[in-house]
């Protein structure tokens, strides 16, 4: 059984059920009342973390780190819930998790933090993360992290990793048409940007939570202030879509008539 050292990159995003409104900040665009918005772990990064924990559990001797860049208070808020899900060691950086920062700057900070993890054996390393974030949504950060770390076996939109008896692993990546590209990689190191994966959100486990919190609180306390922005980028505007459609509401029309309208509409190019 291979023993992996799995580093998961992930940060916090505002609860998507909240109303988000852009405002002009001193350093560029920001969200209105950003620090007041409830935060949680980015959904795809969450899938990456759960898949990492599952892989580590199946391969004894493996270990999971979560490397997170975000405002310390927001990270702490997210960790209160996350810590109870799966075992991991937190590496925290205190900086912006805004979607308007540049992926390259975020990636540089993440890669530096990974390189500084004591005793990390990079020949056994798998770097996990979300294939995109729910904030910037660029799908760029993980690629650049991989490049900085010298990892050219990269996979994005991953839904499955399956370890083979010879130590290689098969990866399913999402491609067009609802299909998966199937690849086999010889061994670690590799980088996987996860889509949804196959695992449900783990149940809360207070014992895991207590074990995690022993290292999470010190990690948060010593979170290094990290400056990330969007140097070289000028936003001409950031705005919400304004268009509201004038909906024609059709009531009391028989199904036959509605069907006829819909068929005409579909078939009329």
């Amino acid at each position: 059984m291979p023993e992996y050292q799995i580093v998961v990159c992930g940060s916090v995003v505002p609860d998507p059920l909240q109303t988000l409104e852009p405002v002009a900040g001193p350093a560029g665009p920001a969200l209105k009342n950003e620090m007041m918005l409830p935060a949680w772990l980015d959904p795809w990064a969450g899938h990456a973390l759960y898949e990492a924990a599952n892989l580590a559990a199946k391969n004894p001797g493996s270990k999971v780190w979560l490397v997170a860049l975000g405002p310390k208070a927001k990270l702490q808020q997210a960790m209160m819930t996350l810590a109870q899900k799966v075992p991991f060691e937190l590496v925290a950086m205190d900086g912006s998790a805004s979607g308007f920062t540049d992926a390259a700057e975020t990636a540089a900070a993440l890669a530096e933090a990974i390189q500084a993890i004591p005793g990390l054996d990079r020949s056994r390393m798998l770097v996990f993360g979300g294939w995109e974030s729910a904030s910037r949504g660029a799908g760029a950060t993980m690629q650049i992290v991989g490049e900085i770390l010298g990892i050219t076996d990269q996979f994005q939109g991953v839904d499955e990793i399956a370890i083979q008896p010879d130590g290689s692993f098969q990866v399913l990546e999402r491609i067009e048409g609802g299909r998966h590209l199937v690849s086999v990689c010889e061994s670690a190191p590799a980088l996987l940007g996860w889509a949804t994966g196959n695992l449900p959100e783990p149940r809360n486990n207070p014992q895991v939570g207590m074990a995690n919190m022993r290292t999470i609180m010190p990690a948060l306390q010593k979170a290094k202030p990290t400056k990330v922005g969007a140097e070289g980028v000028t936003f001409a505007s950031v705005s919400l879509p304004k268009q509201s459609r004038d909906t024609r509401v059709v009531k009391d029309m028989p199904p036959e008539q509605i069907a006829a309208e819909i068929v005409d509409w579909i078939t009329n190019k």
Binding site: Q154, R174, E176, V182, R248, E261, I266
Partner: protein, 342 residues
């Protein structure tokens, strides 16, 4: 002044995808607007630029080799990097398909530049290149410029008509590229678990199913068994692509009766995809913003719902039919079936 490079994987005998030809059109338009030239860069086992001979590119660069035929990060990134260096271009543009999306940022890093993906618009105001892209899962649109070069872009489909032109003989310059031995082998393509293909990015129509299909109907019965053939028949007859709300996909994981052919790949919206189709028909969907971001890039929209005040439809759809989707879709299928037989 910026110089532009259009980038795409290519194989002789296989036409470039519609999305790639749209990205080429964007490159060409932008070059014209900026008063500059553009080149074409292709890679593959045996790439040919002949179908693009008349596109107006100043130069055609190719990276060729058996190892470049497979969609793999290491070889795709190496080829695109080599083409970028050979062309000397300051702006590299490719189609936002799965292959370029998972490569462009790494390529930008290697070239010492920056990348922006999911570009939904380009501008050349005052001779300066600008782009539009969306943030926070399509909730807000940003328009921006960058000083860093090279600037590597992935442009979404639907922002320009695909380039069309006569094939000819394009004079290509071969570019050397040695990516080293690949540790990753592509072994194939896996189709969806269900037998029928339900996701068709090129379809004219997106059909969105909501959790209402699995709820008790007006007669007090749950009719998932009836819903499945109705939906699958419609997809087949209308050649439509299937999207789903998160709530319906999530029923799978919760062990409730649901539509067996749905997976997370069908999910549209906040944590799903935001597909681009000319038309969209939603059925049995419910919810308010932000769930409706799955609609963001759909042209004409209609909805069928029993709720006349449904937030998914009101102000979001052009037409809302307040009706039973089971009854309506059965009639729609019957009518489409008759048309198909004719």
């Amino acid at each position: 002044m910026d110089t532009l490079l259009f980038l795409s994987p290519s194989e002789a005998g296989t036409p470039l995808s519609k999305q790639a030809l749209e990205a080429l059109a964007v490159t060409k338009q932008l070059a014209g607007a900026l008063g500059t030239t553009f080149s074409v860069g292709l890679w593959g086992a045996n790439p040919s630029a002949d179908e693009l001979a008349a596109c107006g590119a100043a130069k055609f660069f190719v990276v060729a080799g058996a190892e470049f035929s497979e969609p793999r990060y290491a070889t795709d990134a190496a080829a695109a990097e080599a083409l970028g260096r050979a062309s000397g271009a300051t702006v590299l543009i490719g189609p936002a398909g799965s292959r370029w999306n998972r490569t462009l940022a790494g390529v930008a890093h290697r070239l010492g530049g920056r990348a922006d993906s999911h570009v939904t618009g380009v501008s050349s105001e005052g001779g300066t290149l600008g782009i539009a892209r969306w943030y926070y899962r399509q909730r807000m649109e940003g328009i921006l410029t960058r000083t860093q070069r090279p600037w590597v872009l992935a442009v979404e489909t639907g922002i320009a008509p695909a380039w069309q032109g006569e094939a000819g003989t394009a004079p290509v310059e071969a570019v050397a590229c040695a990516p080293g031995a690949a540790r990753t082998k592509v072994t194939g393509i896996a189709d969806q678990a269900a037998g029928q293909q339900t996701i068709r990015p090129d379809a004219d129509l997106l059909f969105v199913t909501g959790a209402g299909w699995t709820k008790k109907q007006p007669d007090g019965q749950v009719k998932v068994g009836e819903a499945e053939p109705l939906i699958l028949d419609f997809l087949r007859l209308a050649r439509a692509s299937l999207g789903s709300t998160k709530s319906l996909v999530d029923l799978h994981g919760e062990g409730q009766a649901t539509l067996t052919f749905l997976t997370h790949m069908n999910q549209v919206g906040q944590t799903g995809s935001t597909p681009r189709h000319a038309k969209g028909l939603s059925t049995c969907c419910h919810g308010e913003e932000p769930h409706t971001v799955g609609w963001r890039f759909i042209g004409e929209r209609r909805a069928i719902s029993l709720d006349a005040n449904c937030g998914w439809a009101r102000g979001k759809a052009d037409v809302l039919y307040v009706a039973d989707a089971f009854a309506v879709m059965a009639k729609v299928n019957a009518s489409l079936g008759e048309k198909t037989e004719i």
